[in-house]
Symmetry: C2
Subunit: 254 residues, 2 copies
């Protein structure tokens, strides 16, 4: 019986993988990977059979139960099985369903943490998600609910936190903006919608909470996160740039 490694591939750029993840990929015999994992990251698994089971493959995503079963079966035939997930496996990665299946089948597993999109995005914007004397909590949240899920009061968690990072929110931009404003969040709360963080095709769309629906309309098809909070105000306000290119140049340099 082998070991299944649930490995975080990081936010996108292949060099934001951890050394541990790279070492495990080199030894992997099978890799089940999300569709968005970078090709250069997959190349590290030179010996492995690579199987896309990914969400967002454009066509369909493999049912979670079927992924769980394949992981268990693979651990019966191989020493080193990798489940490679975008970002960090413990943040919106549906890792728990796979963990439960592996525990239930008596398979040894190990989780390798990764850089999550929120901090990679903050790094690119040159802004800290927390700030001494200013922001002492940051929430990572998704407004998406699963079928049959209990009420998800995502908005309450955003309202209570100094800084919020919204994952998988671009498609719900109208709802997010309207609901937060209705419940008392300032319309001019600084916000940035960032698409394809850490990749060359990255786009930064800065604005305010009231602008979010318009920003989402301008975004493309890449994965997005929305950063929201006063920590962004200084960096956005200082910019007198009018184009995205200029804003990016400003954000990157002093």
């Amino acid at each position: 019986m082998g070991t299944v490694y649930l490995v975080g591939a990081g936010p996108g750029a292949p060099d934001l993988l951890t050394l541990r993840a790279a070492e495990i990929l080199k030894r992997a015999e099978v890799v089940f990977h999300d569709a968005l994992v970078h090709p250069q990251t997959l190349e590290l698994a030179a010996l492995a059979e690579k199987i896309a089971v990914g969400k967002r493959s454009g066509r369909h995503s493999t049912a979670q139960k079927f992924i769980n079963k394949r992981l268990v079966d693979a651990a019966r035939d191989h020493e080193v099985v990798v489940r490679l997930k975008g970002g960090d496996p413990t943040i919106f990665g549906r890792a728990q369903e796979e963990i439960d299946a592996l525990r239930g089948a008596g398979i040894t597993f190990e989780i390798v943490p990764g850089v999550t999109a929120a901090t990679a995005t903050a790094a690119e914007l040159g802004v800290s998600l927390t700030r001494r004397g200013f922001a002492r909590h940051v929430v990572f949240v998704t407004p998406r609910t699963a079928a049959g899920e209990r009420e998800n009061d995502w908005a309450a968690s955003v309202l209570a936190a100094d800084t919020a990072v919204i994952y998988m929110g671009a498609g719900l931009a109208e709802t997010i903006s309207a609901e937060l404003i209705r419940r008392g969040k300032r319309r001019d709360t600084p916000l940035a919608l960032v698409e394809s963080a850490s990749l060359p095709e990255r786009r930064v769309l800065p604005g305010t909470l009231a602008d979010l629906p318009e920003l989402a309309r301008r975004a493309g098809l890449g994965p997005t996160v929305v950063l929201l909070g006063e920590v962004l105000r200084a960096v956005l306000a200082e910019s007198t740039a009018t184009s995205i290119k200029e804003i990016e140049a400003f954000l990157k340099h002093a």
Copy 2:
């Protein structure tokens, strides 16, 4: 004029560094590092002068303003200057003060994100911080306030979030437990205090919110995080272990 890289060293284990961080350390001419950064991580910076400016050095920590000035001065004399911080620079890393100083002095800088303690701890516990149909938000929070800081309602953010990870909280365990219970959080909310996550000397102290003061008394001097929320219930309840070693063995394997 050189570039200053604000680099996340990850949660503790040297192989939880990113490939990008390792590559920058190899080119570094000067490294200003926190006291808790692993010696093997520092060894990667073979060419660099290494200067501890760290918090928690046991004796004193260098004043933040002095660190800011040294970074600016170093960038005037060197091509590649690294400020190496535990975890991720944008999460409780006081990066913003250094960013502001660098921007003010016209120094080019870049932030390299890292694995933060929260997800490394979740990985070791074998538990996801979010869980489809169950936990759709996770807050990272510290109850510590700086001198002159506005009121920090850390408790409100914990109460509103499905899962909470409390950084730098062990010394305030009595306050955390009492305040959350007073404001309606269940006494039996599952909790784990984890010390020295990702290192060989790691300790996991599982319990409930009511137990937190006792768990904190049993913890040592290493850095701690407290995980709190229903996502932990299954994994802790399934354990019939009575010693920490047994709990760890249970958490690690099925």
